[in-house]
């Protein structure tokens, strides 16, 4: 399992090899998490350049991978949720900019 940083992409796999932290993943899938929703999107064979790797974590198979409150949804639905979240943060950002002249602390 690995979690590559910059775009918060989360990949899951069964086999991985690494050298200077370059990574080959077989059977990779991207787990997109938005709030309490998640979706695993299969990606296949992935080659990851080491400079993009943030963390490689070993999954304990006996433990729950995700909290029980989380619900799996389809790819289309998670994409919609991502878009909504992005629009919400954009709106928050633009509103803050409009309020800047008020000089709140």
């Amino acid at each position: 399992m690995s979690w590559a940083g910059p775009d918060d992409i989360f990949l899951s796999t069964s086999l991985a090899t690494y050298l200077d932290t370059n990574v080959i993943l077989e059977g990779a899938c991207e787990r997109v998490i938005v709030g309490d929703l998640y979706c695993d999107i299969p990606l296949g064979l992935y080659v990851i350049r080491g400079e993009n790797v943030v963390l490689i974590g070993e999954l304990d198979l006996e433990k729950e991978e995700l909290p029980s409150r989380m619900n799996p949804v389809s790819e289309a639905e998670i994409k919609r949720a991502q878009k909504a979240e992005r629009e919400a943060t954009d709106l928050k950002g633009s509103m803050r900019k409009r309020m800047e002249f008020l000089d709140f602390d």
């Binding site: 932290t21 998490i33 729950e64 991978e65």
Partner: protein, 94 residues
């Protein structure tokens, strides 16, 4: 080299690694290498609700280049020793 040796001496201690993406992970320092890549055991994420991704991760490898801080227990740190060592290291470079 100084911090590589320093972390090698800290193997077995409980540390909190804070990454540049704001994720903080607590665990036992298992090993470190020349790039200051860190391997942690018995890991748990500090703010588990914000980062549900890693609920079942117990051991992990962290690339050195993404670490912002390694938080150590204050009683384990000999400040005077570190000060002297870094002063000596700086002199060697120049």
């Amino acid at each position: 080299m100084l911090f590589f040796s320093y972390f090698k001496d800290l193997v077995g201690r409980e540390v909190t690694v804070e990454l540049k993406n704001d994720l903080a992970i607590r665990g036992t320092l298992h090993s470190v290498d020349q790039y200051l890549n860190i391997k942690l055991e018995n890991t748990r994420v500090v703010d588990q609700d914000k980062y549900p991704h890693m609920l079942s991760v117990r051991n992990c490898f962290i690339r050195g280049s993404v670490v912002r801080y390694v938080q150590l227990p204050p009683e384990e740190v000999d400040i005077e020793l570190l000060h002297d060592a870094t002063r000596r290291e700086a002199r060697v470079v120049f």
